[in-house]
Structure formats: C-alpha cells, structure tokens
C-alpha cells in the first residue's frame, strides 16, 4: 500500500510542471494566439526561479521571479506578434531558442549548486493520516496552486464576463472588436498569464522536483504541454487529466522496470507519447467537434480596421 502511495506521489510531481505550462497555454490559445515558445518560457522560468531562490534563500521570491520572467518572455512575444505582426509560429519557435540560450547564459554560475527542500503543506493530524495524509495533505504548496489554477481557469471561462470576452476574441476578433473590446490588450494579458504559468512550470522543475539547475533541463516538456492543450480540446479539466495521464504512464513504466516486467524499455519509454497520440486520434476522429472546440481565430493576426 505504501508503494502505491509513493507511486501516486511520483505521478503528482511528474505531472505538475505540465499542468502549469498546459493551463497557461490553454488560456493563450483560447484568446486566439498560438505561442510555441512554451519551452523557452519554461526554461527561463526555471533559471529565474532557481537563481533567485539560491540568492535570496526565499522560495516565495524565487517563485515570483519565475512568474515574472515567464511573463516578460511572453510580453516580448506579444510585442512581436501583436504589435509588430510577426508570424506567430516563427516567433514562437524563435522564443524557444532564445529562451534556451538566455537561460544557459544566465545559469552559468548556478550549475553545481543545489537548493533545499521546498516547503510542504503540513496540517495537524490530517497530514499525518496513514497513506492518504501524505498524498492529499502533505504535498508542496505549488501542487495545490496548480490544481487551484485549473479550477480557477475553468471557472473564469464558464462563469465570468472576462472569460466570455477572451473566448469571444478567440472565436471572432473582428466581431469582438466591433462591439468595442480591446482585442490586442486582452491578448497581451492572456499571453502574459500563459508566460507566467510556463515560468512557474519551469521553476517547479528546478526548485521543487530536482531541485537544481542544469542547462536544457526542461527537456521538451514545453512541447508536451502544447500537445496537451490540443489533447484537452481546450478544456481546462481535460488538460489536468492529460498531464496526470502523461505523468502517470511515465512513472508507472519506470516502476514496472524496477519490478522486472519483461517489456523492452524502449517501448515503455514510448508509452506516454503513444498514449497521447492515441487519445488525440480518438478525440479528433470527430472533425466537427474539433472545429467546434478549437478557437476559430487561432494564429490569425488582428489588425483593427481604422
């Protein structure tokens, strides 16, 4: 039983950076912008969070820096694509490359250093419950934040006026503009929220999960987050599910190897990706549904007619 709890704990930790990055990108895409620079924003968040945590010894400061760094990267993307009308796909790819390089430069003095243990929730009695205590009431604070974010985003889109406006802009920016909503401003805000989340996801990797800094340590998680958004058909709850599915299979295949399950390791390593592709195929088998879900103005630049 304890092993099961440990496996579940492993899954939560493997999934959380993906939850952050995916939920951020989901909001961005809902507003009609495709930012392929998630990987770049994550890695900059990772080094920002780690370096500030090391320098200040304060986890909160580290986390806030990661959020700010990710948002700044997104602001740069916003300026290029929303104000200067650069191509979103090309700019996103460039943002990833820029982020990887910038983080490497920034991190030169930080490789070889290690952070301490990130603070965890510690409730009297509850956290000490056998088995479920650690799982439900003993995680680090960022895990709870990631779940809250998903719930919050879901609520935002469903129940608030702001969410409705963002969705409208993503579906038909000309109509939204005609009614008088500032399309570009909302897109800037959505982008910065996405960047902040990606930065937080990166920081989770460098400050909580490993916790150290190494160049290129996001190792493709930004791309997985992007795939998860499509996988989720732009629904926050499903993005959470997808991230946990991905993390779950990653952890389970490692454990199954430890138990000596006789399956080739390469197949096991492929499993999380295969599962993602399989679900993607199932979801997109109904074309109409995909069309209904995908924001209609995704990747389309908006120029206000004057």
């Amino acid at each position: 039983m304890e092993l099961v709890v440990n496996i579940l704990l492993g899954i939560v930790i493997a999934a959380t950076p993906l939850v952050f990055a995916a939920i951020g990108e989901l909001v961005v895409e809902k507003s009609g912008v495709l930012n392929l620079g998630v990987e770049g924003m994550m890695i900059v968040g990772a080094i920002a969070g780690f370096s500030v945590t090391i320098e200040s010894g304060n986890y909160l400061a580290g986390v806030i820096s990661a959020i700010a760094a990710g948002a700044l990267m997104a602001l740069l993307f916003g300026f290029l694509t929303q104000t200067l009308f650069a191509n979103q796909v090309a700019t996103g790819l460039a943002l990833t490359m820029f982020g990887l390089g910038l983080a490497a430069l920034w991190g030169q003095d930080y490789s070889g250093k290690a952070a301490g243990n990130f603070p965890r929730l510690d409730l009297p009695v509850l956290s000490d419950l056998p088995l479920v205590g650690k799982l439900l009431f003993g995680q680090d604070y960022l895990v709870y934040l990631s779940i809250l974010l998903v719930v919050g985003v879901s609520w935002f889109f469903r129940k608030t006026r702001g969410g409705l406006i963002v969705r409208a802009i993503g579906e038909n920016h000309d109509a939204a503009h005609a009614i008088g909503y500032p399309v570009v401003l909302y897109r800037y805000l959505a982008l910065m929220f996405g960047g902040a989340c990606a930065g937080l996801g990166g920081a989770y990797l460098s400050v909580v999960q490993t916790p150290f800094w190494a160049e290129g340590m996001t190792a493709g998680r930004g791309w997985i987050a992007l795939a998860l958004v499509v996988f989720a058909a732009w629904r926050p709850g499903r993005a959470l599910l997808g991230a946990y599915l991905f993390g779950g299979i990653t952890i389970l295949q490692l454990h199954s190897q430890g138990f000596g399950v006789k399956v080739e390791a390469q197949y096991l390593s492929m499993l999380p990706y295969l599962a993602t592709i399989a679900v993607l195929v199932i979801i997109s088998s109904d074309r109409l549904k995909v069309k209904l879900n995908a924001p209609a103005c995704l990747t389309q630049p908006f120029r206000a007619a004057t």
Binding site: T210, I251, L254, G258
Partner: protein, 361 residues
C-alpha cells in the same frame, strides 16, 4: 614549470629567427585546438569534464595554444558541419567528444588530411584520426564493492540510459563488484532512454527508492539521482564528475573522468610532431579515472577494502572481468582465471549471471 621555460625559450628563439627569415614566423603560429561537445558545459557531468580537460590544456601551454570549443552539438549532420568548420578555421587538432560524432569525424578527416582528429569513445580510426576512451568499468567495479558493503536492503538501484556495450559493461562491473563482497545483493535496473533529462532521472531514482533500493548508481548525465538520494536519506554513486555538492551525505564515492592528462599529452605530441593515430583506453592506472571523495561515513574496513581493489586494478593485478564467469542465461563467458580482453569488453551486449531482468535490445 617545464612548459613555461620551454615556452620562453621557443618564443625567444622564434623572435630571433623572425628577424632573419620571414618563413620562420609561420612556425610561431599558435597551435589551434578545437573541441566539440555533445552537451552543455553546464551539465556538470560528461561535457563539463571534457571542458576541464580543455582548461588543463590551456593551463599547460598558456600562450602557445588557442582553444575553441563548441557546446551542445547534436549527433548527426550538425556534428559534421561543426567539425568541418573547425578544420576550415585552421585548427591543428580537433577533439570530438561523443560516440555519435564518429562517422562525421571520419568523413571530415578525409577532407583535411593535415588536421589531426581525436574521437572519444569510437572504434573507427584513420591515419589522422585517433581514438581514446576511459575504462569506466574499473571505477564502477570499485564503487560496486562500496555499494555492496553499504547496502542494508541488499537492493542496489541502477539508472541506465541506452543498451550499448559501454553502459552494459558498467552495469555488469558494478554488479560483480557488489556481488564479490555481498552474495545477497540484487540489482534493480531502470532504463530511461535518455542521457540527459533531470526530471525523468529524478523520477527514476524515486521509483528505485520506493522499491527499496538504498544505493543508486546512474549512467545518465545529470545529478538528479544524487540530489534525490540526499533528500531520501539513501546513498548514491557519483557519475562522470564529483557530485558532492548535490549529495553531501548521499554520495558514497564518485568515479571522475579526468581527460586533462590525455589532452595535454596529445597536444604536446602534435606540437612536437610526434603525433600518431593511436587507440587509447586508459583507466585508473593511467590516471584518467579517479575514485573521488570517498565518504567519511563509510566504515574504515570498507574503505580499506575498496582502496585495495582500486590499487589492484590500477596496478594491473586484478581485472574486474575475471573468470569463471557466466552470462545471464548460464552460458559460459570466461573460463576460470581468464581475463576479458578488450575485444570482448568492447562488444559486451549481455548481462552477467545473477542480474535479473531482461536487457533491452
């Protein structure tokens, strides 16, 4: 000191010669040394150690050399492009430091017969291509002895990257070392199919710890497993470089690659005109592999035992792969007293008897 005075003499001689004959000035040209790394210097493992070797070259020759390094070069077409560029820029000797750089190196070497190439960990040589590598398995055997004595659960975890002979040899050596001092020891091996993914390496270490491993070996490049061992209060063995900063309590010992002496010797040979295409496979004895920072919490008799094994391997008195030894399926591998030759070692693609689980193909 020797190098410095040598430098001064040469500089003086060349300065004098320059007044007399212009062509001599060509001789005064610095030796240009190029390095191609597969990862970032900041990986704190494989590429980091190669870069330490570059720094050793700089330190040894000072003004007489000019070094260039290119990081993060993917294995494939980019490797060829980068290597060719270095050759075109007039580098006299180029070190390419990843297995996957083998074919690109051979290809570029054909086009630049005057440039000397050194490829790390490959098996293809040419007149101007030498190969070199370290006998990592020697260090893994010694650390296996330490792990075998230190494990309380008799379960040793091993995070492996790809099923190539290099990695398989390391697993076998570590197992034989542990088994030699602890007949009850079991190895749990997890393949992560990557050299570098700190998150996944940490996940793998976590899985192994959850399944009862209390000493963790790794054959991947980041210190994630070491850091996790530190958090969990278990032990780990450092790989490629000293990972003490990540596991001040956890790290039992580290096998550290030391490329410096080899690089200095080869650059020197290139300067002296004595460079030849050779195949170097150096281990503890050659000073290319050191067992670093053996932890003080290890009992004295264990430390002594490990040190004896280390010294015997270094002095050639003991070979980690000595018969009688069977393959995992029970087929004989080495007869009693037989030592595995380099050919057998280079092609090792099976587990030795006693290791559980199947080796991915």
């Amino acid at each position: 000191m020797r190098y410095q005075s040598f430098t001064r003499l040469t500089v003086a001689a060349l300065a004098a010669a320059a007044f007399v004959a212009a062509p001599a000035a060509v001789q005064a040209k610095k030796m240009k040394v190029g390095f191609v790394y597969v990862g970032p210097i900041g990986d704190h493992g494989w590429s980091y150690q190669h870069h330490q070797g570059l720094l050793a070259v700089k330190k040894a020759f000072g003004d007489k050399v000019e070094t260039t390094h290119v990081e993060n070069v993917p294995e494939g077409p980019d490797a060829e492009r980068v290597t060719r560029q270095l050759a075109q820029q007039g580098h006299d000797i180029i070190f390419t430091t990843s297995f996957g750089f083998m074919n690109p190196t051979i290809k570029v070497a054909k086009q630049f017969p005057k440039v000397k190439f050194e490829h790390c960990s490959g098996f293809k040589r040419a007149k101007n291509v030498a190969t070199y590598n370290i006998r990592y398995y020697e260090g893994r055997y010694v650390n296996g002895v330490i792990a075998g004595r230190m494990t309380k659960s008799n379960t040793v975890g091993y995070i492996a990257s790809f099923p190539i002979p290099e990695v398989v040899r390391g697993i076998n050596a570590a197992y034989l070392g542990a088994k030699s001092v602890n007949p009850k020891v079991k190895f749990k091996i997890v393949w992560v199919s990557t050299w570098f993914d700190p998150g996944k390496e940490a996940d793998a270490a976590k899985a192994l710890a959850d399944q009862g491993a209390d000493v963790i070996f790794q054959h991947t490049d980041s210190p994630a497993a070491m850091k996790l061992a530190e958090q969990r209060g278990i032990s780990a063995i450092g790989q490629a470089s000293n990972m003490k900063a990540f596991g001040p309590k956890a790290q039992l010992a580290a096998a550290v690659n030391d490329w410096g002496p080899y690089y200095v010797a080869r650059v020197k040979a290139a300067m002296d005109g004595t460079w030849k295409s050779t195949d170097t496979w150096g281990g503890i004895g050659a000073g290319m592999l050191t067992i670093a920072s053996v932890h003080s919490r290890i009992p004295a008799d264990v430390r002594k035992q490990a040190e004896k094994v280390r010294a015997d391997i270094a002095g050639g008195k003991f070979h980690p792969f000595t018969g009688p030894l069977n393959k995992q399926d029970g087929k004989p591998f080495l007869k009693a007293g037989e030592k595995a030759g380099d050919g057998l070692l280079a092609g090792m693609n099976f587990y030795v008897q006693g290791i559980e689980g199947s080796l991915p193909k």
